[in-house]
């Protein structure tokens, strides 16, 4: 029998249903992998008992003939989702030890669907970062190594770096992620897995620690496109508790998966051809174009003229919202409280927030506070919102002549830990291809497409029209089938 931890979500679901193995066996196998992978630091909290309890329930449900859509599938939960009774930290000192008495809508849906939780996955602090180097609980390490014989520890991407690392290392078959400006897609690309950020509003934000409300969107990360479809079906749905939630039925994405792209047009945005970019990236992109043509699609060049303003606009809007969203962490009601001897309220705020937030979080709070300040608001925030509108219009116009857009997910393969931490701007540039779709609220996914000359995975990004996750998944599937990406990190941990 295949090793259980090598199975995909669909294989576990179907195999369990068919009685090939018990859910408890699956849970135990993954629990063992999690326990044996401390070196990756992918989890902040491990919850083997949660996974086992769900597995036992799944086995009982199978015996009773009451199987649920994801019975027997253990997953990882990004530690940005509030989990009832299980510490939820957003990888911050601020929320260290915080145990919510409520369950996020997305995680509740997954538990209702029969999933078990292997643990809470590490991430960049408050989801701010592109390399998972801002976590208060330490860096997450990618299971991948360069093929140069060196032993440099690589970044798993961020902010969903615990999710990406854990899936790539077979610690879980799938995990939740959140994507504000690429936080699902970029880490997926860095470790050779798939991940989709659905249309803004598909997944409820209720119970997810907020970073930038108008951009935050949950989505699944998994080893293949089909698993992403399955997971997303069980995460999405209208939630009256989230005023920005989409009141639309959840399509049966899995059932409608098709890699036949005849009659479809794929747009290639010329502005995404960056001067001086790694030639491996361009080569992968060209290969992707060929794959989609092979799947029957027509390929056209399109223009997204305001692309170059996307990153600056994003780094105004997201910090602006974050500066306000993170004001609630003040030491008054929950989480960290630093109350120096004889301190007043202002001193408590200052001490608590100085100690509770890491440098990147502070940087963004300060940027956000600055751009919203009297006298600067119009020059920054208002202007950025205009750019955002123009970027959304770029996409609308482009989608008049194509069904999906194909681009690289990130401008480079995974970099080494510490290589970019000294220069925040270089770090921010990593999101250059991911951010426009976030600003426009469009569904976008990353699928692994190739290895670069260092032997590291590269991802292709498919951006779709609003609500057309199906089109995105289908194009992703077409690439997946043709790229034949089977490489995996050799176990060293």
């Amino acid at each position: 029998m295949t090793e259980l931890t090598n199975l995909t979500v669909a294989q576990i679901r179907d195999g369990h249903r068919a009685g090939d193995f018990s859910a408890v066996e699956v849970a135990e196998a993954f629990n063992a992998n999690v326990a044996g992978a401390k070196a990756l630091n992918a989890f902040i909290v491990e919850t083997p008992e949660h996974a086992l309890a769900a597995a036992k329930a799944a086995d009982a449900d199978r015996a009773a003939g009451t199987l649920k859509p994801l019975s027997g599938v253990p997953i990882g939960m990004k530690d940005l989702f509030a989990t009832n009774g299980v510490q939820t930290t957003a990888a911050s000192h601020m929320l260290e030890g915080f145990v919510p008495r409520y369950e996020s809508t997305v995680s509740a849906k997954l538990w209702d669907a029969g999933c078990g939780m292997l643990g809470k996955l590490n991430l960049d602090q408050f989801a701010m970062g592109s390399s998972n180097e801002t976590s208060y609980f330490g860096n997450v390490i990618s299971p991948w190594k360069r093929n140069d014989g060196g032993n440099a520890a690589l970044a798993p991407g961020g902010s969903s770096g615990g999710s990406s690392s854990a899936i790539a290392a077979r610690l879980c078959p799938a995990a939740t992620g959140t994507d504000t400006g690429g936080s699902i897609r970029q880490p997926a690309a860095f470790v050779g897995i798939s991940g989709i950020k659905p249309t803004y509003g598909r997944c409820s934000r209720w119970g997810i620690v907020a970073f930038a409300s108008s951009l935050d969107q949950a989505g699944p990360m998994a080893r293949d496109v089909k698993d992403c479809a399955i997971m997303l079906e069980n995460m999405a749905g209208f939630d009256p508790k989230d005023a920005t939630s989409l009141d639309m039925p959840v399509p049966n994405w899995e059932a409608a998966l098709s890699s036949d792209l005849k009659g479809k047009t794929v747009g290639i945005p010329k502005e995404y051809r960056l001067e001086g970019i790694d030639p491996d990236i361009d080569a992968m992109w060209d290969a992707g174009i060929a794959m989609l043509k092979d799947a029957g699609a027509e390929v056209v060049e399109i223009s997204l003229p305001h692309t170059k303003y996307a990153l600056p606009a994003y780094y105004i809007i997201a910090p602006a919202e974050a500066s306000s969203n993170l004001a609630r962490y003040d030491g008054v009601r929950y989480g960290l409280r630093d109350l120096p001897q004889g301190a007043g309220l202002q001193d408590m705020y200052a001490a608590t927030r100085a100690d509770g937030f890491g440098p990147e979080v502070k940087r963004r709070i300060m940027i956000g506070t600055y751009v919203l300040s009297a006298g600067f608001y119009d020059a920054y925030y208002t202007q950025a919102q205009k750019v955002r509108t123009l970027i959304a219009r770029d996409f609308e116009q482009a989608f008049a002549s194509c069904d999906v857009i194909l681009a690289p997910t990130a401008p480079s393969a995974a970099f080494g830990l510490g290589e970019k931490t000294a220069d925040p701007l270089a770090m921010y540039l990593n999101d250059v291809f991911a951010v426009p779709a976030s600003l426009a609220g469009l569904p976008a996914m990353s699928v692994p497409a190739a290895l670069n000359r260092e032997g590291l995975p590269l991802g292709l990004q498919i951006i779709g029209k609003a609500f057309d996750e199906q089109g995105v998944l289908n194009a992703g599937l077409a690439i997946e089938e043709r790229a034949g990406f089977t490489a995996r990190a050799e176990k060293w941990w």
């Binding site: 930038a212 409300s213 005023a243 920005t244 003040d330 008054v332 009601r333 929950y334 309220l345 608001y377």
Partner: protein, 488 residues
Amino acid sequence: MSDYRIKGETGEWEVVIGLEVHAQVTSNAKLFSGAATAFGAEPNTQVSLIDAAMPGMLPVPNRECIRQAVRTGMAIEAQINKWSRFDRKNYFYADLPQGYQISQLYHPLVGEGSLTIAADEKAGIPADKAIGVERIHVEQDAGKLMHDQHPTMSYVDLNRSGVALMEIVSRPDMRSPAEAGAYVRKLRSILRYVGSCDGNMEEGSMRADVNVSVRKPGDEFGTRTETKNVNSVRFVMAVIEGEAKRQVELIESGGTVVQETRLYDPDRNETRSMRSKEDAHDYRYFPDPDLLPLELDDAFLAECRASLPELPDAKRARYLAAGISPYNADVLTAEVEAARWFDTLLDAGAKPVAAANWVTSELFGALNRMGRDISDSPVSPAHAAELLGLVADGTISGTIAKQVFEKMLESGDAAGVIVERDGLKQTSDTGAIEAEIAKILTANADKVEQYKGGKEALFGFFVGQTMKAMQGKANPQVVNELLKKALG
């Protein structure tokens, strides 16, 4: 035009007043959470995860709160904005769990409107005056800090956190404390008619930020100060009076008024500076990204409009048209409960003028004596209508009516029952009356002489004696006629 002036050493000063009234929206649940809003609950028992700003919690607008604000806007004939938006007002304070208040700065729900304060000569308001309302927006209330629970720490009660408020911003159209007082009373009356706020200023359901400046008549507006959270009409007027005087004295002694926020101390009846413009917060307002813009459809607006009751001005006009005196019309329309009671009385068939006189004198007098509100009057409108009917058709006299009313208050019985039981029916039996008149004229022969000699004022004496002899039950008209006949 108000002629209210502050007399300074350099001449007369005019006072310019604008009010921002915060009115708590009457609704069972808070503006963005399902938590309850009852006043006086144990601390922190009406707090949802959202009100406490737990991580990942999101606001969802409460339809009823929006509806009430829209109805309020309609009641002052204001522009209702079908597209509005919520903004965050960012500042740190321990009673503000989110670290921001969700409010509406840029696109309020309700735009320009106005309300009219009635002429009141005695108060120096010579004619009806329209006071402009710039806008009404909805926003969250904050929690409450309690400083008296512990020697070194403050406690926080979040029961009020997230409760819906309407901020009703007037134009700087008022020129005297009396006008401001009349404005607050009128606004309170309208809110209570509409049912969008209970207007209870003691419980903090309504409080005003009072903006005051002074100028020489005809000059540009002066620099204003804002006194926060004033919670009674009397205090609003006191703040204006005191603040205007302070400003005049300051200017005349060579100082300048600084734009600042002040606090009112009712015990010492004075305001003191809280913070000046220089250290004012930078609230970093921006659109709340957790909320979509609020879009109102025509059906919603139609329902809001259809649900509005008759408002004070319309009611007052109707009463005046029915012949009720302006004074009585004012008294009857001031409080919605009284107006409703009075309308029920009219519906039961009472004649408007007599009913108005009776309610404002007899009923209010009795309620006042008993310390009761009209909403728990021991006499129902139906019983009152019956009583007034007995007077109108001559069954009992006005004097007897007072006795019957007292008995109604004591027993709760209907007027007709009391009149029948106690034999209080007015008599027009000329024989009985004539017999009593004859006795009285005989017994008072001297006075009859004087009357005949031209002292006509004695006629009232004979009427009084006759009524007394008849135990008040004689029909006064009949008594008059018979006396005139008997006295030749």
